[in-house]
């Protein structure tokens, strides 16, 4: 699969910037991608070596729209640990 459609966007939050100091980078990723997909994609896009990946699913929140209930989309987030010495320059804010 195309690596650019696996990685959706980097996550810039307080927690994720703290993790960056330990060489862990956080991304929102395509919902049904596997850990191996993510490793391949990150290595390909940023030209780095990946040590390991942890992933988790985030359920979209339900919101009321008038009298109906609406659901925000679910997403998958991946925390990628790079091999020591490697780093990624993340420029965009969310």
């Amino acid at each position: 699969m195309d690596p650019y459609s696996i990685i959706i966007n980097p996550v810039v939050t307080e927690k994720s910037t703290l993790l960056q100091e330990k060489g862990k980078y956080t991304f929102d990723v395509y919902k049904s991608s596997s850990k191996t997909d993510i490793i391949r994609a990150v290595e390909n896009v940023f030209d780095v070596k990946v040590d390991s990946v942890n992933t988790f699913n985030i359920k979209g929140k339900t919101r009321r729209v008038g009298r109906n209930l609406a659901k925000r989309p679910d997403k998958k987030r991946a925390i990628v640990t790079l091999k020591s010495g490697e780093s990624i320059q993340l420029f965009e804010g969310t």
Partner: protein, 434 residues
């Protein structure tokens, strides 16, 4: 930090300061902290945005700009210290460039040079205002005028009377205005401007109950444009005639004024005293002004232009405050008087210069005449102040002491200058009578 200086010939130094990254570092950190508290950054709580994120999303230049507030004063004062310059007033600072290195241009004013003229040879020609019977009577008449009453009389109208009239004005067979039972004071002549010339004169010699019709021309400057230079028909009916009655000048009148006066003689004496005091004060002020003006004309000053700028800014600011204190809009005022802010500044430059010269002169004289404040006097004054203000003591004592010392010093200086000036008063041959 690289500093280059350029001295102008007017007691002013232009400093160009190039700031190193290391010097900026701590200030940028402060700016970051401030911004992260102020800005809303998604994904972060307020005050918790790390610097790297700020730098990435806003750019370094923006951070530098934000840090200028704290950075400039420190850098400029460091530079002034390093160059060993003694300065007065706040430096005027402008930023030359931000990138790649921060460059600051600071204009600093040096202590002005004053070349005080020796005032030994000055002559002051000012004489006191004379107080005679005429002046005293004038004042008393004014007091009586302020307490006048109107008394109804049964006779024909004279000049100075107050009438109650009905009147109607017609022009071109249309009624322009008609009013009932209006109060009208009959007066004409040089000192009195009538809205319709000749109206008062027509009323003279009318009696109560009389009705009169007459024609008059509206003046050129009449408020209603359509009526200007047209003639109108006036109809007047007199209801009442009242005469002006001044309180009689007798002992009772003196008593009614209060202030412990018993007789006309005492009243006159009191008025004379007041007038004398006024004349004395006024004379003192005049000779001081004259003295200072002479010193000013004869002395040489070198004052940095930025000092004058700052003073004229102050003047305009005071003007603005005055206007706003009267609930007027400053911009509106500028528009109405067809002035610009810059124009006002330019106008007040001359005054500003004079103000500065004046304070310089006073300062110089105090040095030359060796005026010192007695410590005892200061302590006494502070005691008096404490007695009066024992309740609200939120002003620090040091500040009060400083203020008191300054005011005592000012007073001593003015006394001294008055003495210097008085020594130089010459009786003029042609006494100015007032």
């Amino acid at each position: 930090m690289k500093i280059s200086t350029e001295k102008t010939d007017q007691q002013q130094i232009n400093l160009t300061i190039e700031v190193n990254d290391e010097d900026m570092e701590s200030h940028i950190q402060i700016a970051c902290n401030r911004m992260s508290k102020k800005m809303n950054f998604p994904g972060f709580r307020k005050g918790k945005v790390p610097r790297s994120v700020l730098e990435n999303s806003l750019g370094k230049q923006r951070l530098v700009q934000e840090s200028l507030d704290t950075l400039i004063p420190e850098v400029v004062f460091k530079a002034v210290d390093k160059e060993k310059i003694e300065i007065v007033a706040t430096p005027v600072v402008s930023v030359e460039s931000l990138d790649p290195k921060l460059k600051i241009l600071a204009k600093v004013a040096l202590v002005p040079i004053v070349n005080l003229s020796s005032y030994e040879k000055f002559k002051i020609v000012q004489s006191k205002n004379k107080i005679g019977v005429k002046e005293i009577n004038n004042v008393i008449d004014q007091v009586r005028e302020s307490q006048l009453t109107w008394i109804p009389v049964e006779r024909s109208v004279k000049r100075g009377d107050s009438l109650i009239i009905d009147f109607e004005i017609n022009s071109d067979e249309k009624t322009i205005t008609s009013q009932n039972k209006m109060e009208f004071i009959v007066d004409y002549g040089k000192d009195h401007v009538e809205s319709i010339p000749g109206f008062s004169e027509k009323l003279i010699k009318m009696n109560i109950g009389d009705e009169k019709k007459f024609n008059l021309k509206f003046p050129e400057n009449f408020p209603d444009e359509k009526l200007r230079n047209k003639s109108g028909e006036f109809k007047v009916l007199v209801h009442e005639i009242k005469e002006k009655a001044l309180p009689e000048l007798n002992d009772d009148f003196a008593k009614s004024l209060g202030e412990g006066l018993e007789s006309v003689k005492e009243l006159k004496e009191k008025v004379r005293e007041n007038l004398k005091l006024n004349a004395e004060n006024e004379w003192n002020n005049r000779i001081i002004e004259d003295f200072i003006n002479q010193v000013m004309d004869d002395s040489k000053f070198v004052v940095a232009p930025i000092l004058v700028d700052q003073e004229s800014e102050n003047i305009v600011k005071r003007q603005k405050e005055y206007i706003e204190s009267r609930k007027l809009d400053f911009d509106e005022y500028l528009k109405n008087s067809e002035k610009t802010y810059e124009g006002l500044l330019e106008e007040s430059r001359e005054v500003a210069e004079k103000n500065i010269f004046r304070s310089l002169i006073i300062n110089e004289i105090s040095i030359k005449e060796n005026i010192k404040v007695e410590e005892k006097e200061v302590i006494e004054e502070i005691k008096r102040w404490e007695e009066n203000n024992n309740k609200n003591n939120n002003i620090s004592k040091d500040q009060v002491e400083q203020n008191i010392r300054q005011s005592i010093k000012d007073r001593l200086i003015m006394d001294k200058i008055l003495k210097l000036a008085k020594d130089r008063v010459v009786k003029s041959k042609d006494k100015q009578k007032k």
